[in-house]
Subunit: 330 residues, 4 copies
Amino acid sequence: MINFALLGAGRIGKMHAELIAASSKATLSYVFDTHAPSAQALADKYNTAAANSIDEVLKDVSVDAILIATTTDTHVDFIVKGAKAGKAILCEKPIDLSTQVVTECWEQIKDLNIPIQIGFNRRFDPTHSSLQRKLADGEVGVLQQLIITSRDPDMAPAEYLRHSGGIFRDMIIHDFDMLRFITGEEVVEVHAVGSTLIDEGLAKFGDVDSVMLTLKTSSGKLCHINGSRRCVYGYDQRIEAFADNGMLQSTNPLPHSVSTSNAAGTQSQSQLNPFFIERYQQAYQRQLESFIDALINNIPPSPSFTDGMQAQILADAAQESLDAGITIKL
Amino acid sequence: MINFALLGAGRIGKMHAELIAASSKATLSYVFDTHAPSAQALADKYNTAAANSIDEVLKDVSVDAILIATTTDTHVDFIVKGAKAGKAILCEKPIDLSTQVVTECWEQIKDLNIPIQIGFNRRFDPTHSSLQRKLADGEVGVLQQLIITSRDPDMAPAEYLRHSGGIFRDMIIHDFDMLRFITGEEVVEVHAVGSTLIDEGLAKFGDVDSVMLTLKTSSGKLCHINGSRRCVYGYDQRIEAFADNGMLQSTNPLPHSVSTSNAAGTQSQSQLNPFFIERYQQAYQRQLESFIDALINNIPPSPSFTDGMQAQILADAAQESLDAGITIKL
Amino acid sequence: MINFALLGAGRIGKMHAELIAASSKATLSYVFDTHAPSAQALADKYNTAAANSIDEVLKDVSVDAILIATTTDTHVDFIVKGAKAGKAILCEKPIDLSTQVVTECWEQIKDLNIPIQIGFNRRFDPTHSSLQRKLADGEVGVLQQLIITSRDPDMAPAEYLRHSGGIFRDMIIHDFDMLRFITGEEVVEVHAVGSTLIDEGLAKFGDVDSVMLTLKTSSGKLCHINGSRRCVYGYDQRIEAFADNGMLQSTNPLPHSVSTSNAAGTQSQSQLNPFFIERYQQAYQRQLESFIDALINNIPPSPSFTDGMQAQILADAAQESLDAGITIKL
Amino acid sequence: MINFALLGAGRIGKMHAELIAASSKATLSYVFDTHAPSAQALADKYNTAAANSIDEVLKDVSVDAILIATTTDTHVDFIVKGAKAGKAILCEKPIDLSTQVVTECWEQIKDLNIPIQIGFNRRFDPTHSSLQRKLADGEVGVLQQLIITSRDPDMAPAEYLRHSGGIFRDMIIHDFDMLRFITGEEVVEVHAVGSTLIDEGLAKFGDVDSVMLTLKTSSGKLCHINGSRRCVYGYDQRIEAFADNGMLQSTNPLPHSVSTSNAAGTQSQSQLNPFFIERYQQAYQRQLESFIDALINNIPPSPSFTDGMQAQILADAAQESLDAGITIKL
């Protein structure tokens, strides 16, 4: 049994608490949140303790791992403290909005050899990971081109967006990780364009709501990502992999399937999942199990801290490409 | 080259004329129709002759084959005359509405060894025939249950229906043939129910517009046919074959495929083909080629006259089952 | 909060325990099973008590409802005892294998006015119930024909089948209920055929493994059910409703969706759910919520005891039709 | 009736001859080809004359229109001659591989006011044009992003490719036209990347086999095109249009549809159309009818000569972007 302390009792923290509680290999000993009543309420729900401070958690030797689901600006501090206290760490993405801060964090912890995993949950999605595995198994030969469609259902609040680090660091970072996961290669060129087609107000803080990227990997594979902050038909998350012997598609799973045929054609009432918590429910669960299994079997968890750094570097490059209107070489 | 005379210049006759003209292995020498202007118009279109009488056609030794697309009540007369004149025959279904007449016809021609094929065109539909071939090839093992969905887009005119011989002999006869084609077995039991759910007026002449049948084959395979005279979403023609190692589905081919996704779900504007001429266009073409190839290669064409008789017998049994409310054993 | 006692700690009992535990409107006070260690283990898992006897449960006034998930032969005894003790009842289907026993049970309890619901969970399946609602809302007009496909993934053990009451009472009873639920009418005619196409051994105790039924409702709607004890491609559960203004299809929801396109065509690796616990997970959950809501709001739960009786009567009629080779009028 | 002379009796010329012959509004008077026997053979097939020279055709006042289906390097010469002779012109794409030559051609003919249409047949594809119309009708609101997938089944012969003008001018030019057709806007930025992932030999003459492009239109819409010279699963031609109220997909029409379900999942045997003649058969037919109708109704045919020029300019920009590794502004 892996004994967890959960840092962060917000929306995503609540989901993690539920997953830890449901796991047969995990226990939850603490919930910590800077907003004490939230921590207490969540702790009560799972018959566990609310921690008064992060130190209280870290000095408890019964705690094996910390799951960091607090706001992004606190991640690095908690990672460093947790690592120094010898705790295994599962940290929500992104590590930090600044690649420099991420790099400095890495300098502080890399020699501690603490098991640390970054929350790129989509690697554990049954559909996407099946595509990756088939590709890795050579089922359609050698990958040539990759297309990732990544469209959020709706704009986050303006205040959130203002501090989000921009669409690449906040949202597309998941797709950068998927690209690395699926191609198994590093990116050597990034070209990004963007527009404010949904909310012109984003321009005030240099952000966009609609983007298209072209990325080239070390062996010359061509990758495209399209992203949007608003998608009225639901959370659209698809991948297409064109290879020399065939093509793989990971399409949106449909919650259920009733269709109506009439003189106008066929109407499927099935709607996409509304957002990531519903869409990637299984992925979050499998992510947790993967982390736990790595701890139990004493193997390095994956995706690693450096996977988190690499995605960050791609986000920076995309932002620079967008800002300068040029292709960035890496 | 096979030289054809076409009997019948109505809707279906026009289609056959076009197919003969388009075939690289066939020529069209005559068009005959009791309505002379129709024959003349069609003959003109294809730069060929309108025959004044059936005898004119039959005594011309250059005519290899007659294609009978006249009204049902003339089929047997033309078959017998054609066979006696030594012409190969491709005759539209049904042979006749009376099984007794069909049987008597067979008695007159069976010893003449004339190549004769009955127009169960669906055996040549790329989709349905592919299902049959996969099943015959054992791709999903041994067939256990078969479901045929057969729904016409709309009611034929009342006058047509009054003389149609009823839904089983006029419409479902195609499905009886498909059942025999796909199972490769004879039917030993027929149970039919029907209702007038579309037009109660059919009851006046003992007909129904909506039917369901259960048929059992010699080895115990269970078959279901559902049929309707009206289907607002188009011409619905599907087959499902359940076998011990899998299932085959022949679904409706869609003319084209644009879909709209919005907050209400996904709407495909693709509509089914309106009716049999569009749906079974390729089937009619391949039927003609199959007949021609049989003549050229001197092998018996298929489906045969006796296939036509067997479908007729099933139609009679279905009608008897419906009328008497009992299961008919064959 | 509705306080439950669970009777039966087998496979289906465990699932119900989990659902009760997960419900925010329910508590679980007792688990009873004739096999005491099973009851104890399940009670321990949910921090509740194992009951030593059914009487211990029934005399506890804090128990609002009993959920009967024991073997079929015990259902009626527990229903009568529960009803006399004033407990609300949610009982797994079928009520009993004998319609006479069911009827006698009804005589004993009908005047007690106890809320009682029979476990026809499929009425709560999001997909099937959506079809029913759309039909009831007139979205495609008036229903004319209904097709239910109901195929289990694999044969149950021979010992189970021997005492199952036969395929109609054990398996197709769900489909009889769906038919009544969707048509909103009573059946007036039943015709059933069956074969032993999977295991001839079933013939020894008069059972079959493959069935097709035609049922006619009071207004003349035509319904077809096809069923099989073995379906190698998974648990196949579909409904098609043909109406005068269109058609509704409830198809198999797919767990996830990756497809491979290559020179051979397109292969979807998505498999159907293996069996009812996975397929109808949401249905079981919504069934429980529906029962709880009925109790809280003091309205009669549905499907009712008489719904259970009616499905039983259809199962008897189907068996009689199969045995005698005739159509049964009701 | 529009009287045509066909220039070019190669593969595409044969298809046009067949379409002209089949049209009820067109006649075919001449076939011309520099290879006289090819012209004669095709003329014989349609009972018409083989022209000995282009002049013979142009001085015949009964000829209303010329259809240019010769090699690309002859297009401009025939366009200018045809225009000066007062003939309406339907010319296969591209007008010429050199934009300068195209521009000079335009200078010579623009004041002659001859009806001239460029053979961007895909504008007439039922599926793609339906998407365009729905978008223009505002069915999903305002377009934001567009994705065009354009993958040929296999590499053309090396000799053809060497003189093809490169993948952008030879193949992707169709997609540039589709982009302009669907967005209804001009492109202001082009970014292209490419790799030789199929045949490294292409690098010898500066070509690539796999490309990805990002294009931005005047209002900031973002467009992506992915292209490949080889696609083992068939001719893959799809369009996705993301708009503020929904999404439109134009997917590959399937010739027919049989699927096999077994323990491994569901396999559709339907394959994509092999190549453009099969895929765009209806488009070519509707293109011809559109041209004829424009002549009959005395309206300018579309897509116009300048549409052809604009696509050419985009192809040049893409080539420049690929060669220089920069984004090209227009």
